[in-house]
Structures are given as C-alpha cells and as structure tokens.
C-alpha cells in the first residue's frame, strides 16, 4: 500500500516537472521573444533590454529554468504584465468560480451518469436500456457551445426561468461577502438565502452544459463495466447464497465495477477544466477559464504560465485521489499479494 502510493507520488512529481519544462519553454517558442511579445513591435531597444533584464531573459536558459522552478516551488508565478498583480493572487481570485462550476458539473455527471449506467445495465436489452444509451450517445456527440446556446435559448429566452449570465444577479452581487470565493458556501455562511437560491439558479445551466459529455461517457462506462461484472462467477455465488437481487447488485457488483468508472472520472476532470474555458465564455462566468483566455489574448506570459501550471497540478491531484480510491476499492492493491 505504502509503496504503491509512493510510486504514484513520484510519478506525479516527474509529470509535473515535465509540465513545468513545457510551460517554461512556451515563452521561448513565441516568435521574437517574450519582451517583444509584451511591449509590441514598436518598442524601443532600450525598453526591450530593460524588460529582458527584469525578466532574466538575458541569462542562460538553464539558469532561467532553475529560477523559474525555484519560484514555482515557492508558489511565486511572477506578476501579470497586464494587471501588475502577482499571478498567484489572480488565480486565488478567479479559481473559486471555476471550482464551483467544475464541481457542480462533476457532481451532476457522476450522479446521473452512474445512475443511468446502472439502470441500463440492470434492464439490459429493454426499452430503458436503449433509451438511456441513445440519449447518452447524443450527449457525447453534442458540441458544448451549441448545447450551451440551446439551453440559454430554451430556459432563459423562451421559458425565462433560469438566468444565463454571471454567478449572481448584479443587484445581489454587492451583497455577498466573499469569504471562500464559493458563492454557494458564502451565501449559506452569511445566511443570505435569497442570494443562495440566486447563485444556485445561475449555476444550473453552465453545470449542465459542462457536465453533459462526461455524464454520457460515465453512463456508458458504468453500463459496460457493470454488465461485465454481472457475468462473473462470484455474482452467481452471491445469488446461490439466496441474496436478493438489489443486494447482489449494490454490494457485490457495484464495488467491482467502479474501478474503470473511477479512471474515467479522473480523466474527465481534465476535460471539465478544458471545457470550462468554453462554458465560462458562453455564460460570462467570471472564472479561471475566462481569465486564462484573456491572458492568452493579451500575451500575458506570466499569467498563462501560472494558469497552465496550476490547472495541470490540479488535474494530477485529482488523479492522485483517484489512485488512492483504487486502493480503497480494490484490496488487491491495498493488501499485498501474500498468496503462496
């Protein structure tokens, strides 16, 4: 168990190092160099030289990378050229909105995806099975921006029951004291239930838009994995004991079928972080995605570096958690093989 986790940690460390190298080199792949990119082509040579000195671009490459790594380890991503704020502060400001959206989308996709998968598997070959699987195929095939726009059209325009932009109505925005940055938590902490309901309403459409594709994938994965497990001899053993069907499925089949589903969930998280950029754009969601897009447009090198590195670390963290969940689900990982 311990060595398994140690191995996971080490491999994540190596992956992060690789990502940091890519992110670092990104700056040097821009035509001209970073200073030109920032100051524009009409900048004076003097200004460029000063900026290069400030950014350390005149030092040898390995020196620059070492300094970059050193700073990153100390959570110092430098300052944004655009806002002059430390990048880490910007991330802190924008991240909660994205986290809220991503977590909501994830909860939505896991909850409904697994449920649909189980229903389809248990009622295999019936109308329910075909129905839920066709719906999920449609879900996978749907472009995210099209789905978002359709939802807005349907629920904000024709049936104006849900808001389509932002995290809160503007009137309420000033009302909410930001403590954690998660509006759902903040509003509850302050007992501001009007704002809470409003925040939930704002979250629904973006979360559905972002979560539909993962939901469909999780549903299909759950179904096929559960069907495979239901054919295993130990399921027959469980029935032979006289256990009722729901108990066999809930206890004996579910846990075994969850390993591939967990893998998919971990990988889907990466998709959610990427999809958030599009979704946030559609719904004017003030999150990391919108911020990162703006940083790319403004050639804000430090901000992009910091943002990408942050998102990559987050993705790996989630997959580390998935690895630990494997160990929880599967005793063959947790308890060493001592069979003789």
């Amino acid at each position: 168990m311990f060595s398994y986790l140690l191995q996971r940690f080490l491999s994540i460390g190596l992956s992060l190092l690789a990502v940091s190298l890519l992110v670092f080199l990104m700056v040097h792949l821009i035509p001209g160099d970073a200073a030109v990119a920032i100051l524009g082509e009409r900048a004076t040579e003097k200004a460029l030289t000063e900026l290069r000195a400030e950014m350390g671009l005149d030092k040898p490459l390995y020196h620059q990378y070492a300094k970059f790594l050193w700073d990153v380890v100390h959570l110092d991503f430098g300052r944004s050229f655009k806002t002059k704020q430390p990048v880490i502060e910007e991330i802190k400001r924008y991240f909660p909105a994205t986290a809220e959206l991503t977590l909501a989308a994830m909860a939505f996709s896991i909850l409904f995806g697994i449920a649909a998968g189980i229903i389809a598997a248990v009622s295999r070959g019936t109308f329910l099975d075909y129905f839920s699987m066709s719906i999920s195929l449609a879900g996978i095939s749907m472009p995210i921006f099209w789905l978002g726009l359709m939802l807005i059209l349907l629920f904000s325009y024709f049936l104006p029951i849900l808001p389509s932009t932002g995290r809160l109505d503007v009137v309420l925005d000033l009302d909410v004291q930001s403590r954690t940055g998660f509006y759902l938590i903040d509003t509850l902490l302050t007992g501001n239930f009007t704002a809470f309901r409003n925040a939930v309403a704002h979250l629904i459409l973006p979360a559905i838009t972002l979560g539909t594709i993962p939901l469909a994938i999780i549903a299909r994965m759950t179904r096929s994995s559960l069907l495979e497990v239901l054919n295993q001899p130990y399921i027959t053993t469980a029935y032979a004991k006289g256990l009722p069907r729901w108990k066999v499925i809930r206890k004996h089949a579910m846990k075994n079928s969850m390993v591939p589903v967990l893998t998919i969930i971990g990988l889907e998280f990466g998709y959610l972080l990427g999809g958030a950029i599009l979704t946030e754009h559609i719904f004017s969601w003030p999150g990391l995605g919108s911020w990162l897009r703006a940083a790319v447009e403004a050639r804000d090198v430090r901000a992009v570096q910091g943002g990408v590195l942050f998102v990559a670390s987050l993705f790996m963290l989630v997959n580390l958690i998935v690895d630990m969940l494997y160990a929880y689900v599967d005793p063959r990982i947790r308890v060493g093989n001592e069979a003789t």
Binding site: T237, A240, K241, P244, H252, N337, E338
Partner: protein
C-alpha cells in the same frame, strides 16, 4: 412419464415462463398435479421430467430435456457426462439459478422435502437458495468476490438465513472455516480471496455453502481446476463433511475417477438426457448403454498401452438440433431402425437399482427388435473389444517394426543440460530486480528420437516454462539445449530459424491458440510459407488438403474460421498447423487437457499414429497421469522447478521411489475402486517458486522427512540405466 398431452404441456410451460399469461399458471398447476406426484417416502430431492430450455438465436436449445432422478438424504449422487450434456444446467435448475430471461424451466417438477420448488416466488426461492440447497462451483479463483474479505462473504450467507448478527455471525463463520480445515480461522476471517491459494479458496467456498447447514450440497466440478493432490484433499473434505453434517451431495463432474471414489449412485448424462443410472460398481463392471461402454473404453489407462483407444465416431449433437429419438443413435454402434425416432425410457436392469435408457434393453420394445439379453450383450461387447484391440495391436507393432528398421542416430533428439529458467521479479519505478521465480532449476533431460517423454507435475512445477525454454519462446534461459548435436541455447534469432521448422508446439487451449480472424487454410499454410515449404501456392494448398485429411478433417473446410469448429476439431487444426512444417520434435503442452474424454481419445490416437508414421519425438507436458500411463515411454516428475524422479513409464508407475511421486500417483482417482493402493495424503499447498524451502524443496510436505532433507538438495541416485531419483532415502542404494 409419457403423456399424451406432451405438446400441450410444452406450450403451457412456455406460456408461464414467457410471463405473458398469468392465468396460465392455473392449467400448469393442474397439469402438474395430474402428471407429477410428491414422493411420500424418505426421498430428499425428487426431480421429475425436468426440462430446462434456452432461447438462442439458433432456436430453442433443449439443454436438459426430461430427466428424472431421486436423491436420498445422506447420499452422494453423481451426474457425469461430457461438456454440453446438461449436467451443469441441471444443477442450476435445482438451485433456481437459470440465467433469465433466455433460460426457463419448460416442464417438470423438483420436489425438495415434498415441496415443489419450480413455481416458487422470488422470496420463497431465496429461502431455499443457500439455506436448503447450497452450491459450490468449478473455479474457486473467480467464485469469490475479490473486493470483500472471505469472512464477510461467509457471514453474509449466515445473516441472510439465520438470526445471527455481528459477533455471533462472525463466530459461526469462524467455526465453519475451522471445520473445513483452514488453519488459524479467526485470523484468516479478515483476509481477501487473493491472499489464499486455490485449494484454500475452494475450502472457503465449501464453508460458505455449508454455513447454513443445507440438506443438499451441489458441487459443480469442485476439483476440476485444482491440482491432483489438492483435489484429493477437497474430495476427502466433502466426504467427511457429508458424514458429519448428514447432508446429501449432488456431485457434478466429467472425471469418472472422481465419481468412482466417492459417489453412492451415478447417473450418466448424454445430450440432455440420462443414459444410464446405478451404483458405480454396476456402471463400471457391467455398463449397459452403448454410450457408457464407449466412454469407459475411451478413457486412457495402463492396460490399453500400445493399442489405439476405442473412440466414439462423430460428435455430440447440438442442443438446438436434437432428433426425436435416442440422441446417441447416429454415433451408436448398435443402432437399430427406429432408434432415432422413438425416445428410449429408463428400464431397470435385472430388477435392480441399475437402469438404462436404451431400446436394446426395453422389455416391451416399441418396434420389432431382437431384444438383447443384458448378460449376452456384455459378453458380446467384450469379445468385440478384445478383437479390435488385437487388430490394432498388430498394426501398431507392424508400424513400430517399420520404424525400427530406419537408421537411428546414436545421439538423442534433444539433450538438455543444467537448464535454468529464472524469471526476475522487478519492483519500484527503477525496476530493480529483487528476486527470482525459480521456474526451472538445473534440469538435465534427454529425449530419444521417436519416443515420448512425459513431463508431469502440478501447477507451478515449471513444466510449461521448461517447454517454452526448450523452444526458446521468450523465456530467460541458462544452460545447454542440444538439439541434434547443436547447442541452440546460444543461437541468434537467425540461427534459430531452421530449428523453428524442426521443433513445434501444440498448445493446451484450442480456443485461444488459433487466430480467430484467419481461415483454417491460412493458419496451416503460414508456417509453410515462412519456411519455404512447397514451391508454389498450389502445391501448398494440395499439401494443406492432405494434412487436413491426415488429422481427420474434411479438406473442403479450409475456408472456414476457427470458431466454426468444435474443441476437438480445433485441436486437430493445431496439429495440422504443427505438422505442416515437417517437424521432428513436438512439445505437447497439455494438448488434451481442455478436451472431453471421448475427444481426448481421438486426439491421443492421432498423436500416436503420427508418431509412428513420421518418427516424431514428443515432449508431453501434462498433469493427467492416466494419459501418461497410456501414452508415454518415459516419465519425468517435476516439483518446484526440479526433476525429482525420472524413468521409463513402467519403472515410475510400478516402482515409484520419490515420496512425491508416490503421493502423486496415489492421489489420482482410480476408476477401479479395488486397487487396494494405500492413499498417501499430502498436507498443505505447493510452496511458491519464489521462496522455495531450503534443502529438498519437498521436505515440508514429505511424510518421510529427515533432518538432512532441510540442509541440502539431494543428489541423483540411479537405480537402473533409466531410473533415477533425487531423495536422501536412497543415498546408499547405489
């Protein structure tokens, strides 16, 4: 049991099981009351005219088609038959676990303690499952849920049927684990299945099945996946618990030897019906049904050496295409007009418990036949058998004479010297080697030209690794492999190429060893192309057709794909593929282990005649000792990577020296129960080849262990030119 309403019955059965018409329950119940009766005597389980059908894309598969038998309390009743005969489906029908919605019980009644359990509701059914009727399965490796502790899985059954919770359920489970002979049951309660060996897992399965003290235990091939010494332990355990707990056992197996040793009564099944039923002595000594007779004859044994095995022609009919009469009719040597249209029913033989379903013995035959006198039939049969034996014997002798006239080289075909296969165990991200699996260790062997050397041993003994090492098939090899005077252990890939043609292998699994996307013709021709055999494609095609004829397949099947063939036919394809490149030496790695007895007999006959025709040398790797006894010229016994004893087949089987060889031979279930050979029971499991016991690797299980055995591996003692053994018992024998 013949009812004039046969068709109506089937129709009603279908209605009920399609769940289309609920009200059709009433006529069915009525029909049942009319046709089947609750046995009033002490019968525990009474199966009456059971029909279990499956809807398949090819049509209705009549897997079990009208079988009737009774099981008394405290009795071990065995159902035997080859794969597909419906024995497992019978078991699943009894415990109400037929796969829905494809399968259903179309007709018949199953009375358990006087209650018909076929029409029970889900809730009532579950009260029987696991509580009154419990079941253990063939694969202990996959029959336990890997993500729960074994204790959890046993207590679960207890809690489902008894009023025990928490610590009480735990204690009941621990007591049961103790009963099935698991050491330190309290500690092992919290272990997971993957931490246990196969034999231990089957013990856990038994503990789980018996935790609610069922009246009937169904054991579906309980020892088929286990090694022979472990099989002996498990069979003994089932027998002991059957006595202790006063329960009945329905034993399902294909292994006649297993049946002979423990069953009180035996039913032989063929194609969904019971062919013959009686005690083992009755079936073995005076078999009546032509199928039973053929089955017994096709089982390899010592006294059939040098003769071809008597095989059954043709193959088992498909369950979707049974004829209306006796299903054995088209394979039966004694078939009469009318056999394939009128179903034979069970008739008592000489008024005893022995009964047989064959028109030959029907006292009131439905068509005009010369009724056979059972005694006469047996005598007649015996003369026929000995006549064919004699014929074949002379043929084989003639053939071997022909062979011996050929000039033979002085050196053996293959000489292996100090061969080691040590698989490194790598751990961590840097793949540091932390140890070795000592699969094969210091093995020295030679195989003479045109002879068969059998390599026997239990799983994990290294016999398959040895076979792969000899052929240089991707295993790390140290030592010398001298083939025809050339050491091939040190050759490069290019240098090895010509030897690939001369040395071939036949695999165990005829299903996985043929590429499913290649037609048979291409599978056979591929090797010829690689080795440049045959000048043109036409020539190769002609040769393919010849080869297919030679192995007993029709040449017009060349364009078919492997999945269109039966297991035995696929093994024939494998053999044709192997012969296509004109090999001299063939490794048969458990070549017949996946096959049914009657099919195995066909393949063994084929291998034998090919050996004579082409002067082939075989390395015959197997765990099946009765095949060895019949087939091999010399035997080497392997235990944990080392050869513990080797000699000619006569030497090994008549005068085994090593305690392991003796235990192994005594553990093999014999069909003849009166052999009087003392059983030697080995305790425990084969240790891991990673941490082998120091000294003689067998010493922890050896009944004759001495202090010296724990110190150093014993050297070889030679009894004759051919017979040698590694054991300290014979230190001074030379």
């Amino acid at each position: 049991m013949m009812s004039p309403f046969g068709d109506i019955k089937a129709y009603l059965g279908l209605c009920v099981n399609l769940k289309k018409f609920r009200f059709s329950q009433f006529p069915l119940t009525f029909h049942k009351i009319l046709c089947y009766s609750n046995p009033m005597d002490d019968t525990l389980l009474s199966v009456q005219n059971l029909k279990t059908y499956f809807r398949t894309p090819e049509g209705l598969a009549r897997a079990v088609d009208g079988i009737s038998f009774d099981i008394k309390p405290n009795e071990i009743f065995a159902l035997v038959g080859e794969s597909g005969c419906g024995k497992s489906v019978t078991a699943l029908s009894l415990i109400q676990l037929i796969a829905q919605p494809a399968g259903f019980i179309a007709d018949g009644a199953i009375y358990y303690k006087g209650q018909d359990i076929t029409g029970l509701s889900e809730v009532e059914k579950r009260k029987i499952q696991g509580n009154d009727i419990a079941m253990i399965f063939q694969e202990p490796m996959t029959s336990l849920n890997p993500v729960f502790t074994i204790g959890n899985q046993i207590s679960e059954a207890i809690q489902e049927h008894q009023d025990l919770r928490g610590a009480a359920a735990r204690n009941a489970a621990i007591e049961m684990l103790d009963r099935v002979g698991i050491p330190e049951p309290a500690a092992r309660y919290d272990e997971y299945p993957h931490q246990m060996s196969g034999g231990m897992k089957q013990r856990v399965m038994i503990a789980m099945a018996l935790s609610c003290r069922p009246g009937l235990l169904i054991a579906d091939e309980p020892t088929t996946a286990l090694d022979v010494t472990i099989q002996a332990q498990i069979l003994e355990l089932i027998q002991r618990l059957q006595q202790e707990l006063q329960m009945a056992v329905l034993l399902i197996t294909h292994d006649l030897g297993v049946v002979a040793n423990i069953a009180d009564r035996v039913a032989v099944m063929y194609a969904g019906k019971i062919a013959e039923m009686g005690t083992w002595e009755q079936l073995y000594e005076t078999p009546q049904h032509p199928y039973t007779i053929k089955l017994l004859e096709s089982t390899p044994a010592r006294d059939k050496r040098g003769t071809a095995l008597n095989t059954i022609s043709g193959r088992v009919p498909k369950a979707t295409a049974y004829n209306d009469g006796c299903r054995f009719a088209d394979r039966c040597p004694k078939v009469m007009d009318g056999c394939d249209t009128i179903i034979p029913t069970l008739h008592a033989v000489n008024g005893s418990e022995h009964s047989v379903a064959c028109h030959l013995y029907n006292p009131e035959p439905p068509f005009s036949v010369r009724l056979a006198d059972p005694e006469l039939a047996i005598q007649e049969h015996a003369t026929v058998v000995s006549a064919t034996k004699l014929e074949l014997e002379t043929e084989v002798v003639q053939q071997s004479e022909r062979v011996s006239e050929q000039p033979t080289a002085s050196h053996p075909q293959l000489q292996v010297k100090d061969l080691c296969v040590h698989y490194p165990i790598q751990k961590g991200i840097f793949k540091r080697t932390v140890g070795y699996v000592y699969a094969v260790d210091d093995v020295t062997l030679d195989i003479p030209r045109g002879k068969t050397l059998a390599l026997v041993g239990e799983s994990g003994s290294g016999k398959t690794s040895f076979g792969k090492a000899v052929l240089q098939l991707g295993v790390p090899v140290e030592g010398d492999i001298v083939y025809d005077g050339v050491n091939i252990a040190t050759t490069t890939r290019q240098q090895m190429h010509p030897y690939r043609k001369r040395m071939q292998i036949i695999f165990q699994d005829p299903y996985a060893s043929l590429n499913p996307r290649m037609p048979v013709g291409r599978i056979i021709q591929e090797g010829m192309q690689t080795h440049g055999i045959g000048a043109s494609d036409e020539e190769r095609q002609t040769r393919t057709a010849e080869l297919m004829l030679r192995v007993g397949l029709s040449p017009d099947m060349v364009t078919r794909y492997p999945h269109e063939f039966s297991g035995g036919q696929r093994q024939r394809i494998g053999i044709a593929r192997c012969l296509a490149v004109d090999p001299e030496f063939i490794v048969c790695d458990e070549a017949t282990s996946a096959l049914d007895v009657s099919v195995q007999a066909q393949i063994l006959n084929l291998l034998k005649s090919l050996q004579v025709d082409f002067n082939l040398s075989y390395l015959f790797i197997t765990h099946n000792l009765s095949v060895v006894e019949y087939f091999a010229d010399e035997v080497a016994v392997m235990y944990l990577g080392r050869i513990v004893e080797r000699g000619t087949t006569e030497e090994i089987f008549d005068a085994p020296k090593h305690p392991y060889t003796r235990a192994l031979l005594s553990a093999v279930p014999k069909m003849d129960t009166q052999t009087g050979v003392e059983k030697i029971r080995l305790e425990g499991d084969v240790p891991s080849p990673i941490n082998r016991p120091a000294g003689c690797h067998f010493h922890p299980r050896c009944p004759e262990v001495m202090p010296v055995c724990k110190e150093e591996y014993p050297g070889a003692t030679h009894f004759t030119q051919t017979h040698s053994c590694h054991c300290y018992l014979y230190r001074d024998a030379e």
